[in-house]
Symmetry: C2
Subunit: 448 residues, 2 copies
């Protein structure tokens, strides 16, 4: 990172001194990812200034590396001809990614201004649904007919404009159906007279254009793939997806899980404008408000007990907080297990049993500790025992709901991560208040 920091310092210095020529040279030599990092740290006007100093090709690469909100702001500050010039140099699948971030009218305008061939290519990709393999695939792959010889295949690769990023040669039949692949390493070491048909790997994991990108990611991880060919419904080869795009998908999925578990939309980034974030956070806060009112109303049922014995209110936060963390621990491990594919139906029973044992043992340990502390603090033995017992019960409830709710959501094809603290902890809050205040009310005459 210190390398990037030094770059940022140099850029700021050159910007301050108005030395555009040196600045342009410096930026052109830097990696697009580094230039993107620099741009994010600059003030909006400087961002535009720096971006305009880039060659169209480099600008396109930088644009692909920028986070969505910075890219959007930058594009909206440039005029459409400038944007079109940059997008014209980007691969079609990157253009699609960029256009997705812009308002419809603006992206339509840009598509009109773009060269016809490129515009058509982009519009074709746009016909595939968001989040599908079709949207991610690149047309930058090399394929050869199965009847070719190794020597002919090498000649074909030489003539194609595929670059250093091609690692596989795809093999197709006369109707462009994918029928195999040959890693370049094998091609390099094969006899030039050998036939491609002989040396190809026949069973190639592939996806169709409408496969969900998360499914593609699972395939890549499961079989350690570097590139996944994308075919249409008739198994005709249309494109390929490379592992670096899959890493982005994996990171997005992880972000989604982390954020949803916390009651955040799932794709919020630190620099998103507050007015875009506001409605999305508000939804979860309002849902939480509703569940909190539910918990409050349970407390309301016991208002007269609290009036009689105010110390009950003092212990309430402990019951709620411990139930909350218990549920969160369980739900988090379960949600992540589902996401990674570790928690399959066949092992669900074992997982529930594990969580119940943990709920019982950790509940007992914490129940003992809190009963002892409460007794020392307030000197009321029965009340301390009630608190301890309520805590054990609450941890068991946490284990059950924390395990079963995410699994059930997944079974109904709902993202289990929304079984977040917000939703599940309502159960433990309600149950915890009910058991603690309920037991205390039942035994009230012994408590006074």
């Amino acid at each position: 990172m210190s390398e990037t920091e030094r770059l940022i310092e140099s850029v700021k210095e050159l910007l301050g001194g108005g030395r555009d020529e040196r600045l342009a040279a410096l930026l052109e030599d830097a990696h697009a990812a580094d230039v993107a990092s620099i741009i994010r740290e600059l003030a909006p006007l400087d961002q535009i200034h720096v971006f305009r100093l880039l060659s169209a090709e480099h600008a396109g690469a930088v644009l692909s590396e920028l986070d969505d909100s910075t890219a959007r702001e930058l594009l909206q500050a440039l005029d459409e001809t400038e944007v079109t010039r940059v997008l014209g140099r980007m691969p079609a699948e990157r253009v699609v990614e960029t256009l997705e971030e812009l308002p419809k009218e603006e992206s339509d305008k840009i598509l009109e201004l773009m060269e016809e061939e490129k515009s058509e290519e982009v519009q074709e990709l746009l016909t595939y649904g968001k989040g599908t393999a079709g949207r991610l695939m690149s047309s930058d792959f090399v394929a050869v007919h199965e009847g070719a010889s190794v020597g002919e295949a090498i000649e074909h690769i030489r003539k194609s404009k595929s670059g250093d990023d091609a690692f596989y040669l795809y093999v197709v039949d006369g109707h462009d159906h994918l029928v195999g692949l040959v890693p370049l390493h094998r091609l390099l070491t094969a006899d030039p007279a050998a036939s491609i048909h002989e040396i190809r790997t026949e069973e190639v994991p592939s996806v169709t254009v409408d496969t969900d990108q998360e499914e593609v990611a699972r395939l890549v991880q499961r079989y350690d793939l570097l590139q996944v060919p994308v075919v249409d419904a008739n198994r005709r080869l249309l494109g390929s997806i490379s592992v670096d795009d899959i890493i982005d998908v994996i990171q997005k999925e992880a972000t989604e899980d982390i954020q949803r578990l916390a009651g955040v939309a799932g794709d919020e980034t630190v620099l998103d404008p507050p007015r875009a974030v506001f409605p999305r956070r508000l939804v979860w806060l309002l849902i939480n408000l509703a569940t909190a009112i539910l918990a409050s109303s349970v407390v309301g049922l016991f208002e007269s007990s609290i009036q009689t014995l105010a110390v009950l209110a003092v212990f309430m936060p402990i019951v709620a907080s411990m139930g909350g963390i218990g549920t969160t621990q369980t739900a988090t491990v379960v949600v992540r297990g589902l996401a990674l594919g570790d928690l399959t139906p066949g092992v669900a029973g074992r997982v529930l049993l594990k969580e119940l044992r943990l709920g019982l043992t950790t509940g007992a340990a914490n129940g003992l500790v809190i009963a002892a502390i409460a007794y020392v603090w307030k000197g009321q033995l029965l009340l301390s025992l009630i608190l301890g017992i309520a805590l054990v019960l609450n941890m068991l409830v946490a284990a059950v709901f924390g395990t079963l709710v995410p699994i059930a959501l997944k079974a109904f094809r709902i993202d289990p991560a929304i079984a977040s603290s917000v939703i599940i902890t309502t159960f433990t809050d309600v149950f915890g208040f009910f058991s603690f205040l309920g037991l205390a009310t039942l035994l009230m005459k012994f408590l006074l």
Copy 2:
């Protein structure tokens, strides 16, 4: 997945019928990742039975694909000679991964039984710290002297035992120093008489043996690498790390963040034995108990106010719950932003400002709603206003702590993810109870 499910069904059937020969044939044809999935779903004795049916080579591959706890149990059920036979067929870096999971005495015993050459290779990798590039690197790469011609390089590759997974030819000088690389694609399309020196890429991102694996992952993501060469302190080429290992690192990091935010150790999997999980969950539960007692003691300060006006206790869960979710939302976005490298020091101020604006606006919106609901419910205007105001203040506090605590932890080189709900929500709980109950106590004479 339905493919795997069908496989599992077949395996169970063949197991039940005792048809080991057919079962062995079926397993041998299946991908190691699929066999691993099957094994996880079986009862322990069947797991061992199935594993013993695999050829040593396939068994090694399957072992690499198994989750840690299943692998450990399986290995401990086999005798050391069997384990050694399987490990003997695995690449050294995979053997290291496996041995890490076993008790020291057992792994020492296995190392002794292993062929000397392999054992030495493994022990050398074990000298590198856990979680470093040295531990991850494979010695399965091809390098050629910079003075070679393209034709000689191809001949060298042909003679080496590098497989289909080699995509780069590394270029070294006379002292094995890494001085560049050539993608196989370029080698394939170059003139055989050309010199490697001419066509190599000189600037190769590389890491040293002691680079942290998370740093390697950042490099791979930033520059879209497929393979990272690993060098020693003198830039001598020792190995290479491939992107599929990096994907595992990325997933582990994400799991760690997700779990730590929820007060779980960071590497718990759904099938970990309860007795191993118990102490690790208990730690966080006890920390949470301590912070909950802190919050309780704040409530305790106002016990007499609650005695006078028990309805205060009814609203307490709302204050605590809203503060909790507000902090969790902010902290989660911030922690993830830090992990992804989006939240750099240069933008920290903007992020705090954003969170403050969000805290104010969402706080005001929720404050209005809850004040209105509380008024309708209990008919006490002043109390409803106090509740609304306490909520706004609490959301602002949530914004400040949720943003600054993770950033501060990161600055002190502590994992920001442990700024979990457990820790930060203490601040909002304490502050929330204090402001709500405090305001009510101050204005008590108007409330009665």
